[in-house]
């Protein structure tokens, strides 16, 4: 009770401070400033003291701050009583398995070791310690449920790059180079039977956890897929999964129509939405609701039917009386891409997930026939 009153009296120091977290984490990292905040945690820029390297520290779980996880659907609210949230367990366990140039590197997972021994804490847990809802976990050596994920620091992302360089979409070589890397990272994840389920360049309110990072050090533009908070490993064959995944604008039609059986094609759809947003400098299907997003898709790509998408009629939310649109030309949908690029987008945005091109096949598409020289000499802005 006393802590809640104190929190009300002093507004949270959102701008400069580290929100009551120790500035020094385990005598190993110095937290410097908050650089992002998403559904699943807050990200700080920090320095690893021993090496002087800049790292990103993501705080997961713990008191309140993790958010209620309405996007996830597969978890209950981040509640320290529930221990480590399931989205955090998955994000960590999956990232530990992924080692690829186009996937952000998780260096370490740690707790705040300065807090009391967990066994002793459990013994003393009769009090309100575990039920405190105050953000940032006040004194007493930190919050027991908080996890710190230490990543390589990457200071640019696709969204910011687009804001800083309005002409980015016109740079055909750079768009192709970024697209290729995105598909390389995605292909790698799918080979490791990991679905990302939340690819997007957008960040809510410009202050979110960024999913598509771009490392601009050394003059290159090395793309890294990040934020695996909604990811999970799938089996072969894939079993029933949660329908409440993927941010609305990037959500594929099989999910919008209520399909519960889906697989790696969902990420391919989202990836195409990202590429076209990069190229057009405008989101492809910015719907306000699920049905609005669906109609925006139909309006651009033409309404699907049983002939183009066998099994369509079995999807729970499909209604034959949905408006029928003829669709637009690909010159109109992707004005800045060359014909090969448009063809690749058409294949990635195929309605029927079974016919949608895989990330592996996309990498062999003629659009990338001239990728060799670009990989050797990365294009510049």
């Amino acid at each position: 009770m006393a802590t809640a009153a104190a929190a009300a009296a002093y507004p949270p120091p959102r701008t400069s401070a580290t929100d009551g977290l120790p500035r020094l984490l385990n005598n190993k990292y110095r937290l410097e400033r908050r650089v992002g905040e998403g559904t699943y945690g807050v990200v700080y820029r920090a320095t690893e003291l021993a090496s002087g390297q800049t790292v990103a520290v993501k705080v997961r779980g713990g008191a309140g701050r993790g958010g209620a996880g309405t996007v996830g659907g597969e978890m209950r609210p981040d509640d320290s009583e529930e221990g480590v949230p399931s989205s955090a367990l998955r994000e960590i366990a999956l990232l530990l398995e992924l080692r690829h140039d186009n996937v952000v590197r998780l260096r370490e997972v740690t707790r705040d070791l300065s807090r009391p021994d967990p066994a002793a804490a459990a013994a003393a847990a009769a009090g309100g310690r575990y039920s405190s809802g105050a953000g940032g976990g006040g004194g007493g050596g930190g919050d027991s449920a908080q996890l710190f994920l230490v990543f390589d620091f990457v200071d640019m992302d696709v969204h910011r790059l687009m804001q800083l360089y309005p002409a980015l979409g016109a740079n055909a070589a750079l768009v192709k180079y970024l697209t290729y890397q995105l598909l390389c990272g995605l292909d790698y994840c799918h080979r490791r039977r990991v679905l990302h389920r939340d690819l997007k360049p957008q960040v809510e309110g410009g202050w979110g956890v960024r999913n598509l990072l771009v490392d601009v050090r050394g003059g290159g533009h090395s793309l890294k897929i990040a934020d695996f908070g909604l990811s999970r490993a799938f089996g072969v064959p894939v079993r029933l999964l949660s329908p409440e995944v993927v941010t609305l604008w990037y959500r594929p039609p099989e999910l919008l129509l209520g399909g519960r059986l889906y697989g790696s094609p969902v990420d391919v759809w989202s990836a195409a939405c990202c590429v076209l947003e990069l190229s057009n400098r405008w989101p492809l299907f910015p719907g306000a609701t699920e049905i609005d997003t669906l109609l925006k898709i139909f309006e651009k790509l033409g309404s699907p039917d049983e002939a183009t998408w066998p099994g369509l009629a079995d999807l729970p939310h499909w209604r034959p009386q949905l408006p029928r649109y003829p669709g637009r030309s690909w010159e109109e949908i992707a004005p800045r891409l060359d014909p090969a690029g448009r063809d690749l987008m058409r294949r990635m945005l195929t309605y029927d997930p079974a016919q949608r091109i895989t990330a592996a096949a996309a990498l062999r598409h003629p659009y990338f026939a001239d990728i060799g020289p670009l990989l050797e000499r990365p294009p510049q802005l």
């Binding site: 529930e82 998955r90 967990p118 072969v236 894939v238 790696s264 094609p265 079974a354």
Partner: protein
């Protein structure tokens, strides 16, 4: 020759499944190549019981039987159970556990497995309740931290179920073979 015979006997099940996205046919081979390697990296020591002074194979099997019941009670998917047993054996490989703590380790592994695998996992109170409240929620939360430390958060492991699902896909069994093989693993 036998080489010819083998070629003929080989049906490419994945090419038959290209129209089914759930079969992830294009990735199946690459995935299983990797899983067979991954299986070797995070395995329990089959002889760990020799290092556990207070636990014998009888106790482990009673615990596992009980975990099977828990998974049925809460209608969890089979994968959750296989994960739980994998976690349990790996923890017992690394850490001496007293007889009185064995069930706590077991139920905590189940809780972690459920959070990792289930769409709607039961909450911690339900896991505490199913032990007849022998262990409190706080004890589960504290044990979770210890278990995760031993597992180094490496929860993405292939289990027998992972391979069985694939084998059953390939040999398209009738229901009886399906149930018998699931029972045996």
């Amino acid at each position: 020759s036998s080489g010819d015979l083998r070629k003929k006997a080989w049906i490419d099940v994945d090419s038959l499944n290209h129209d089914d996205p759930q079969a992830v046919s294009h990735y199946a081979c690459a995935i299983f190549e990797y899983l067979r390697e991954a299986e070797l990296m995070r395995r329990a020591n089959p002889d760990y019981l020799e290092t556990q002074p207070e636990i014998n194979s009888k106790m482990r099997s009673i615990l596992v039987d009980w975990l099977v019941e828990v998974s049925e009670e809460y209608r969890m998917v089979p994968d959750t159970l296989y994960y739980a047993v994998n976690f349990l054996d790996r923890v017992l490989t690394l850490q001496r556990v007293s007889r009185s703590q064995l069930q706590l380790v077991g139920i905590t592994c189940m809780w972690i497995a459920a959070k990792y695998e289930e769409i709607y996992p039961p909450n911690v109170s339900e896991f505490s309740y199913i032990t007849d409240n022998t262990y409190s929620r706080e004890q589960l939360v504290a044990m979770e931290e210890e278990v995760l430390r031993h597992l180094k958060y490496e929860l993405t492991v292939p289990t027998a179920k992972t391979f069985l699902r694939r084998l059953l896909q390939v040999c398209s069994p009738d229901d009886q073979l399906h149930f018998v093989s699931n029972y045996l693993t």
